[in-house]
């Protein structure tokens, strides 16, 4: 967990490699077997040209960063807003960077507002997100 929460502080980045095996595992764990994620021959015929990772798989990495930084406060009282900009594909390496944008106080409670960007190895933005957590 972070020992110091201050505006502008960068959170520890997360780097993840996307594979079809991980996508298939996520489909099993989540029950989301949409063929765009798991059926390579179906996905190849769509405008996306191949399978893509579940958006929620990519977003899980942002949540992991928040848990690492803020502990259980994140899971019990966090807020998250995300946009899925581009699909992540098998073979991609995703790097998620985040920072504390501002710290606010309301009724003696402190809130950290964080922003995130998840990019692939080509520098394309895959997910942008904002999160708020009490601390």
């Amino acid at each position: 967990m972070l020992t110091e929460i201050q505006e502008g502080k960068a959170l520890n980045p997360v780097v993840k490699h996307i594979t079809q095996e991980k996508i298939n595992l996520y489909a099993e764990a989540s029950g989301d077997f949409n063929p765009i994620h798991v059926d390579e021959s179906f996905a190849a015929k769509t405008p996306l040209g191949g399978t893509i990772a579940h958006g929620m798989l990519n977003l899980a990495y942002v949540s992991e960063m928040m848990t690492s930084a803020f502990g259980r406060g994140w899971s019990s009282e966090g807020k998250l807003r995300a946009k899925f900009k581009e699909p992540a594909r098998p073979g991609d390496t995703l790097t998620i960077n985040g920072k504390i944008g501002c710290v606010e106080q309301k009724d003696d409670v402190s809130y950290a507002n964080c922003s995130f960007e998840c990019r692939n190895q080509k520098g394309e933005t895959i997910v942008t997100a904002e999160a708020i957590v009490k601390f």
Partner: protein, 131 residues
């Protein structure tokens, strides 16, 4: 859940998907953690709960053949920790259904409750359906 999946055409604003009940067993959470390549503790990762809620919806609605559904955005709010082994109930309703040319858009509101009927999380998902 209902045996018969509702079609995209049949969905209308206000439609409530059949509530889905999940037991967040250690094996289910372990599978999730392996998939997201993350370590866990005695509580269920909040996005594992969201994943169940979304699966409850996708499992009870069918798309026209050849159509793909793309998750465009997601908002979430978490209200309490959920221990591994807990049972949750997921509710999803159609908040908006928008059609623009060949693009369909569904905005879904989700709420998840624990066994004591306390709200665990709520959220809003936007699903794009290029047809």
């Amino acid at each position: 859940m209902s045996d018969k999946a509702i079609t995209y055409e049949e969905l209308s604003v206000g439609y409530k998907f059949p509530p889905a009940i999940y037991e967040l067993s250690a094996s289910l959470v372990s599978k999730y953690l392996k998939a997201v390549d993350s370590a866990g503790d005695e509580f269920v990762p909040p996005l594992a709960i969201t994943a169940c809620a979304i699966a409850a919806m996708t499992g009870s609605f069918s798309l026209p053949s050849g159509t793909i559904a793309i998750h465009a955005s997601q908002e979430l709010e978490f209200f309490k920790l959920v221990p591994i082994g807990a049972t949750i109930e997921c509710h999803i309703r159609v908040a908006q259904k928008i059609t623009r040319g060949k693009m369909g858009m569904l905005i879904l509101e989700l709420e998840v409750f624990d066994k004591g009927k306390e709200k665990v999380q709520s959220g809003r998902a936007t699903i794009a359906l290029p047809t």
